[in-house]
Amino acid sequence: MRGTGLFIEFLHNRKGAAGLAIVAAFTFMALFAPFISPYNPTSTNPQAFLLPPSPSHPFGTDNLGQDLLSRDLYGAQISLIVGLAAAGVAVAIGLVTGLVSGYFGGLVDEVIMRIVDFFIVIPALVIMIVVAALLGPGLLNVIAVIGFLSWAPVARIIRSMVLSLRERPFVESARANNGGSLYIMFRHIFPNVSSVLYGNAMLAVSSAIFTQAALVFLGVGNVTSISWGGIIREAYTTGALTAGDMAWVVPPGIFIFTLIFGFILIGYAVEEIMNPRLRGGGSG
C-alpha cells in the first residue's frame, strides 16, 4: 500500500502535519458553521449595531447588527469552495495542456506554448476584474474566472517535465508495445509528474483563495455571499476602518492568512516527500 505509506510519511513531516491541521480546522469551520456559530450570520439587529467585542459578541457586530464571529465562521465556506474548485479547474487544464504540449511536441507544442505565454504575460488580476465585472456576481463565475486565468504556469511546468520524460526508455518501451498516446500520457508520464503537480495544486489553491478575497474586496465577483474578503470590504466601505474597529477587520484577514499558509505548508511537504532531493531543508 504505497499510498498509505506516503500519507503516514506526510503526517510525520512537520510542515505537512501543521498544514493539514490548519486546513482541517477550517474545513470543520466551514462544514459546521451552522452549528457552531452563535447567531444567524445574516440576521440584522437594529438594537445591536457596531457593538464592540463582548462575551455575547466576541468580535462585535457590524453596521447592520450582524454578529461578526458568525459571519467570519461562515466565510470559511466560500474561501474553501472557490479555492479548491478554481484550483481544480486551473490544475486540470494545466495538466492536460502541459501533457499534450510536451508529449506531441512540434506544431502542437508551439501553438500551446504561445497561448501559455499570452496567459502568463497578461496582468491576471486586472483581466479577472474585467471578466468578473462583465459576467456579474455568482459563485460559478468567480470559480471560472480564476480557474481559466491561472492554468498557464501549471501547463508550463508540466510541459517542461514531460519533454524530458518522453525520451526515457520506459516511454519508448510502452510505445514499442503498441501503447496509445493517451495511455502513455496518463499511465506512464502522469505518475512521474504527479509530485510536482500536487505541490503546485496546493499553491494554486492558496493563490485562488487570495484572488477570490481580493476580487470581492474590490467589489467584483460573488459580493452577495458571506466571505472574508466581503467582510473586510464592508468594514472598509462603511468607514469602520478609519474608526479603528479592529475586531471587524483583523479576524477575517488573519483567517485568510492562516488558511493560505496552511495550503502553502501542505504544498511544501508534498514536494519534500515526493522529491527526496529536497529532504533535509537544503533549498527552498
Binding site: I122, P123, I129, V130, G219, G244, G253, F257
Partner: protein, 349 residues
C-alpha cells in the same frame, strides 16, 4: 510580443462585443461634446462599425486603438475620453511603480546576496519566515493594517504619521499655484513636465511639496513591496546557493581569490541572471498589486481607474485601462529579454 498584443486586443474586443450594441453605442457618447445625443449615437454606430460583421468590426476596433480612440466614460470620478483619463491617472501609477521597483531591488539584491552566501544561518531562517508571510498575507488586508497602525487619525499612536490616502495634501500646495502645477488648457491641477508630482516638485525645487508627495506614497509602497520583496529575496537566495556549488567557484577559491570577491563576482553575477527573468513576472504581480493598493489608499492611478470603471460598468474605461496594463507588461517582458541577453552572452534571439 506582437502575438501577445494581438491576443490581448482580440480578448478585449470579444469581451466588449459581448455587450449589446445599443449599450456600446450609448456609452460611446462624449459627455463633454455639444453635438446632440442622437447624432452622437448615430456617429458611434459608424465609428465602431457596429453595422458590419464581427471581423470587420475588429478592424475598426484596431483602427480606433491605433488612433487612441478608446471611447468615453461618464461617471462621478471622471467624465471625458478614456485616453485623457489614462493620461491623467497613469503618471501617479508610474510614480508608485518606479518607487516600489527601486525599493524592492535596492533591498532584495544585497540582502539576497548576504543570505544566499550563508544558507542555514539565523538570517536565512528569518528570511524564510518573512517570505512565507509575504506569500500568505493578502495585499489589501496588509494595506488596511498599515493604515490602522501608521495612518493619521485612526488609532493615533505615536507612529501614526502617514496620511490615509491621496497624492498630496491640499495644504502642502503652494499658493498661488505656480504655472507648472496647472494644466495650461483646462486649468486643472496637473504638474509638468513629468506629470508625476514628486519628480516635478523636485525639478522645480519645491522640496516641501516633494516631501509631502513622498509621505503619501510610503504606505502604498510598503504594501506593494512586501510580497514582491518576499518573492525576489527567496529567488536570489536560491540562485546564490545553486551557483555557489558550481565548479568555477571551487576553482576561484582554490586559486586563492578572496571570499568577498568570490561571492561578488563569481557567485552573485551568475545568480542574478535567472533573477532578471523573475523581475518580469514580478512586474505582473506589481500591476495586480497596484489595482488593490490604489483602491485602498484612494491613490488616483490606473488601478483605481480600472476598478472604478469595472464596478460602475463603464466598458470603455475597463477595456482601455486593461489594454494599457497589457502593453506595460509586454514592454516590460521585452526589456527583461534584452537585459537577459546583455547579461548572458550565450543567449541569442
Amino acid at each position: 510580443m506582437i502575438p501577445t498584443l494581438f491576443g490581448l486586443t482580440l480578448l478585449m474586443f470579444l469581451l466588449e462585443r459581448a455587450i449589446p450594441n445599443s449599450i456600446l453605442a450609448s456609452q460611446y457618447v462624449n459627455p463633454q461634446s455639444t453635438v446632440p445625443i442622437t447624432e452622437q449615437l448615430h456617429n458611434a454606430y459608424i465609428q465602431l462599425g457596429l453595422n458590419n460583421p464581427a471581423p470587420i468590426q475588429f478592424l475598426y476596433y484596431l483602427n480606433d486603438i491605433f488612433h487612441g480612440n478608446l471611447g468615453y466614460m461618464n461617471t462621478s470620478y471622471y467624465s471625458g475620453s478614456v485616453s485623457s483619463a489614462i493620461l491623467q491617472y497613469f503618471p501617479n501609477t508610474a510614480q508608485l511603480v518606479i518607487f516600489s521597483m527601486a525599493v524592492t531591488l535596492v533591498i532584495a539584491i544585497p540582502l539576497g546576496t548576504y543570505i544566499g552566501a550563508r544558507p542555514g544561518s539565523v538570517a536565512d531562517h528569518a528570511s524564510r519566515v518573512f517570505s512565507i508571510t509575504g506569500f500568505a498575507i493578502p495585499t489589501f488586508w496588509l494595506g488596511l493594517m498599515l493604515q490602522i497602525a501608521f495612518g493619521k487619525g485612526v488609532l493615533n499612536l505615536p507612529i501614526s504619521v502617514f496620511p490615509l490616502g491621496g497624492v498630496v495634501s491640499n495644504s502642502a500646495l503652494p499658493s498661488p499655484l505656480p504655472s507648472w502645477l496647472l494644466n495650461p488648457t483646462s486649468g486643472a491641477l496637473s504638474s509638468s513636465p513629468t506629470h508625476m508630482v514628486f519628480f516635478d516638485a523636485m525639478l522645480h525645487g519645491d522640496f516641501a511639496l516633494a516631501e509631502n508627495a513622498f509621505v503619501h506614497m510610503v504606505l502604498p509602497i510598503i504594501t506593494l513591496t512586501y510580497a514582491l520583496l518576499a518573492g525576489l529575496l527567496r529567488f536570489i537566495r536560491s540562485g546564490m546557493v545553486d551557483s555557489a556549488s558550481k565548479e568555477y567557484v571551487k576553482t576561484a577559491r582554490a586559486k586563492g581569490v578572496p571570499e568577498r570577491m568570490v561571492i561578488r563576482t563569481h557567485i552573485r553575477k551568475n545568480a542574478m541572471i535567472p533573477a532578471v527573468t523573475v523581475i518580469a513576472l514580478l512586474i505582473a504581480d506589481l500591476l495586480g498589486g497596484v489595482v488593490v493598493t490604489e483602491t485602498i489608499f484612494g491613490y488616483p492611478g490606473m488601478g483605481l481607474l480600472s476598478v472604478n470603471a469595472a464596478i460602475t460598468d463603464e466598458i470603455y474605461g475597463v477595456v482601455g485601462t486593461t489594454l494599457v496594463f497589457g502593453v506595460i507588461m509586454v514592454v516590460a517582458n521585452l526589456v527583461v529579454d534584452v537585459v537577459y541577453a546583455l547579461l548572458d552572452p550565450r543567449i541569442r534571439y
